[in-house]
Subunit: 346 residues, 2 copies
């Protein structure tokens, strides 16, 4: 039960501890027979290298840090699982670090943590990906890091992103194709650039289809269900009423659906609603929500992959990776109501 050390293995295999170290670390220049002897000894003793000793001696920790300040539990869990699925098999552990995006001392806190834990590399997710103070500090201390869905300073680090704008463009086009002309939009939190940029796709689709962009139909949300409700109330007071509302995330779209139900507005007959993210709530709502699914786990995996490559010294030259989101049309969207209905409700 007393766990075996490298010395025990070395003795059993009849080699020096350095050779054991070589085998464990898959270093070259070990004769196959020697390697086999060592591996056999390792297996027999059920040897596990002591990570603390390894870190201390090797001046690295085999630990990655994950920074996030996203309030969506599903998003965070998806990211965590994606990261773990890649880094665990490669011998790296993960330290999670939820942050308060608005905290004054955030940057210092992060830098301190990195130093204390001797973190080898970091993964930043929105909205931290766009926190320039943090990003610059990381550059400064010269620690490898990757970002998920950054929108600013993209050349500061490797990153992965999705075609959010394109997806919201597509969704808007779908609505237009269904006959909608007055399409409301609820913007994402301005601090959360990846979300708030979704507005661009909406705008582009309108212009492309010669539909005037009306300020009247655009509301500023804050990513929460409640902000979605508030924006929906405003939008549904406009005359004539929009026949569709596209929210920059599912929570806000859920707010729209709630307000519509409360006001007796039938979905999708009188109002189409679309969201973004495909959170679990999207298919639990009634009617189920048309939305856009992002490959969150894949992004996390890809990002971790890039980070580990960087740690191995392979000089990844600021690679960027683009993964595609996909439209999921459910029951909350449908053809625009006939003209007279709209006038009637006017």
């Amino acid at each position: 039960m007393a766990k075996a050390t490298i010395d025990d293995v070395a003795e059993l295999a009849g080699v020096s501890i350095k050779t054991v170290s070589r085998v464990v670390n898959k270093e070259p220049n070990v004769r196959p027979e020697t390697r086999d002897k060592v591996l056999a000894a390792i297996a027999e003793l059920d040897y596990r290298p002591n990570l603390s000793a390894r870190s201390l001696a090797g001046n690295r920790s085999y630990v990655l840090g994950l920074l996030y300040g996203n309030p969506s539990a599903n998003y965070v869990i998806d990211i965590q699982e994606g990261v773990l699925s890649i880094c665990r098999p490669q011998g790296y552990d993960l330290l999670i670090h939820p942050c308060n995006h608005r905290d004054e001392n955030l940057t210092k806190e992060i830098i301190d943590m990195i130093h204390q834990k001797r973190i080898d590399g970091l993964i930043l997710t929105p909205p931290l990906s766009d926190n320039l103070s943090v990003v610059n500090a990381l550059k400064n201390i010269n620690i490898p890091f990757v970002r998920v869905a950054p929108t600013r300073n993209k050349d500061a680090s490797p990153y992965v992103e999705t075609n959010d704008e394109e997806a919201s463009y597509d969704m808007t086009c779908q609505l237009i194709a269904m006959g909608h002309k007055r399409i409301g939009f609820i913007c994402g939190h301005p601090d959360h650039l990846a979300v708030s940029h979704r507005y661009e796709g909406y705008k582009a689709a309108l212009i492309e289809n010669n539909i005037p962009l009306s300020e009247d139909l655009v509301e500023q949300g804050f990513n929460s269900f409640e902000s979605g409700e508030a924006c929906a109330r405003n939008l549904l007071e406009r005359k004539p009423r929009p026949t569709a509302i596209f929210a920059a995330n599912d929570d806000m779209a859920a707010g729209v659906i709630m307000v519509a139900h409360q006001g007796g507005i039938k979905i999708p007959d009188e109002l189409s609603v679309a969201g973004f993210d495909d959170t679990p709530v999207a298919h639990q709502l009634w009617p189920s929500l048309s939305t856009i699914r992002q490959p969150i786990q894949q992004m996390a995996k890809k990002a971790t992959d890039l980070l580990l490559k960087q740690l191995r010294g392979k000089d990844v030259q600021l690679p960027a990776s683009m993964l595609s989101s996909s439209l999921i049309m459910r029951d909350s969207t449908g053809p625009a109501p006939k003209k007279k209905t709209v006038i009637g409700s006017n």
Copy 2:
């Protein structure tokens, strides 16, 4: 920028490294003046102890492990935040370890991880709290651990729990007080004992109120939205139809609401629905869901607290802590429909 070591601090403060170590570790027997000198030096150099060195020398890792196999993202995030809020300030880090509850090799995998990472203590959450194979193995290797909401082998470790049964008893009584007599129940996943025990409260309330327990009105769910839908379809076919359905978690209750909407059954006028957990979806549904809120974060905090006390050698004698859940009545529950309506729909 080159990070300061304990030697630097000792030199600047004019003491030995051992004294610095004493101050850092808050050991007794250091004169206040000496302590102040050291603290000043630490501040000036912005010294952070190297955790690897500390672990190696002290034969502990200052890392806690969190084991979970719960598919609910909100639950997991709540637990993580609760644990972190307690262990971080006390200098402990957290390694998260999502598990597959049904994996054959789970126990070995966990034990391996503990050995390799030199984890100091573990926190188990449902359904792992009730995994006897894991629990016994942990006892065997004699590592401190605490459990959240265990229902079996409670004397195997310290634990925290809630009054789930009482809460579901209360909810059932509420429904009865509203005039409901035919109350359907959807049980939780049988592997997930903490959830499946909620049935006991329902049963007790019926008996207490002299309402016969009808097998007809009890369905076996599996904690998922989809299983809730399936059970709801079955329950709503019963004649006479139940006037209320109580599901052992919110996801299944959401399934009930979905099926009711699809069948044109008005909630709460024709059917009351109650859930359990107060997940975010509960108040995003229409109508918003009456449910029971568990103090998940507090449980996590309390559990972590117990664990850290144990690690400090304070021999916590299998303490158990009970935290209370609270009923949250929203719009999905209401008075039972008048007799004639029920007969009419029959």
